[in-house]
């Protein structure tokens, strides 16, 4: 109940501040299993994609949250589990466990996920090189559709280190799905995926 109210509050807030325009270029919003991957410049990125998705898809699409950061306080933990139904991923490497294991579980159970392959929030205009998580996921689950997304302007709403967001119109552009070609190398695929995200900036 409280989580529902919180999600409506966040949706309202995001629409008031950013307009949260979704622009579907290259694929329609559709209830198939997908991995949305996007550039990452602000905490608000996650909320932006989440708010830009239609209501029906929102409940089946789970964002990924860094475990160390998002479980630090009870409130952060509550908002990521109860409102966003996030998947926790450990950022610090432990040898005994694959850090992507929670993602495999989620994909196994049919959920879509939102992924920021840069791993951390960036300052520059262009996204940083992608980490290999995206490659590993699509290698293991080739049937899941990879949808690139470009989040525009959000770094102006809430730059890294600021707490109060300001109103600036933002949009999320979803592009045509990217597929892993037969025999494609890890680095080549990740660079191609990154360019697919950057290309959406000027659509």
């Amino acid at each position: 109940m409280l989580a529902k109210l919180m999600s409506y509050f966040l949706l309202g807030l995001v629409r008031l501040l950013t307009g949260s325009q979704a622009r579907w270029h290259g694929c329609p919003p559709k209830a198939e299993q997908r991995i949305y991957f996007a550039n990452h410049q602000s905490h608000a990125d996650l909320v932006m994609i989440w708010a830009a998705l239609p209501k029906e898809l929102r409940s089946r699409t789970r964002p990924i949250a860094a475990k160390d950061y998002w479980t630090r306080t009870p409130f952060k933990k509550w908002i990521t589990t109860a409102v966003f139904n996030a998947i926790y991923v450990a950022r610090d490497k432990t040898d005994d466990q694959d850090p992507l294991a929670p993602l495999y579980d989620a994909l196994e159970s049919g959920d879509s996920i939102i992924l920021f392959p840069e791993g951390t929030r960036g300052f520059a205009d262009d996204p940083q090189p992608f980490k290999s998580g995206l490659y590993n996921l699509t290698l293991k689950y080739p049937d899941v559709v990879l949808v690139p997304a470009w989040i525009n302007n959000i770094q102006r709403v809430m730059p890294k280190g600021e707490v109060v967001p300001v109103p600036v119109l933002c949009s999320v552009t979803f592009g045509a799905p990217v597929r892993l070609e037969a025999g494609e190398e890890r680095r080549a695929f990740l660079d191609r995926a990154r360019l697919a995200v950057i290309a959406l900036r000027d659509v």
Binding site: G19, S20, Q21, R23, W150, N152, N153, R156, P159, E162, V164, V166, P167, V168, L169, C170, S171, T173, R201, D202, V203
Partner: protein
Amino acid sequence: MNQYLKSLTATQQIGALFVSVFGCLLLISIVAFFLSVRDRGDDATAEAWRTELSRIDGVLRTSWVMVFVFWVGWLSGDTTTLVLFAGVSFFALREFMTLSPTRRGDHRSLILAFFIVLPIQYALVGTRHFDLFTVFIPVYVFLAIPVVSALANDPARFLERNAKLQWGIMVCIYGMSHVPALLLLSFPRFQNKSAFLVFFLVLVVQTCMVVQHFASRQFKSAPAAPAISQSFGWPGWWTGVLTGSLLGGLLAGLTPFAPGQALALSFVACVAGSLGHLVMKALKRDRGIPNWGRDGVSVTGAGGLLDRVDALCFAAPVFFHSARWYFGL
């Protein structure tokens, strides 16, 4: 008819005004609907006709929303009206800032503009502190914004960034807040009827803009500043301004003014509004976009609110100050 209208109370008169405005809008919408269902074939003239019709449809839709907003504002009292206009300011400023690139160092200044300056300005209107209200932004905020920006420790394009922010605040907050301020201005022997004054201003300025739009097409004169606007020419401008002023003179009965005064004030408002619109066009050219709305810009989702209200934002302060000065209020 006139005698009957005069015998009504202020509330009844305003009610009658809304009934007639809603009636007119309904009539025009019905006509536009029947024009749109009529089949005109597929040639070039029909295509041009359809684009024109869809433009009229857009204007009609805005008019419905605006009149509805005024109506709700009037029904629910001054506070709600203030909140509604503050909302319009907020969304207009959001559009303005979206298209003026800001840097990280501007973040605190933007917070100041949206969440502190805007509410204070409207609170000053609501509490009728008119003397402070007219100087708050040009005097105090003028200093406060660059101070906050300077403390952010980023000298790159400092003047340009601050100028943009100041401009956005002047047009979207300062200009817009003068419309509800008219509601609270009390003229002698004109109690509780200030809603007419707002209606008068909006109608006169909008008429001027619409007439100017169509007249400049008819005249096909050389544009006065072709790099900024292809459609702005002096004959069309004069037609618009004079038509708006004449309408204002005819509507003097709605206002506390004598016909001559109403004509002069409408003239001032029309000149300010139409030239302000031209200035906003120049700003848009500078940013390389045809309008503030979504047709022009690909990635921002702006709705084009600023395109519709910019003339009003420039006309309202001039109208407000000349009325206040002339009548010594």
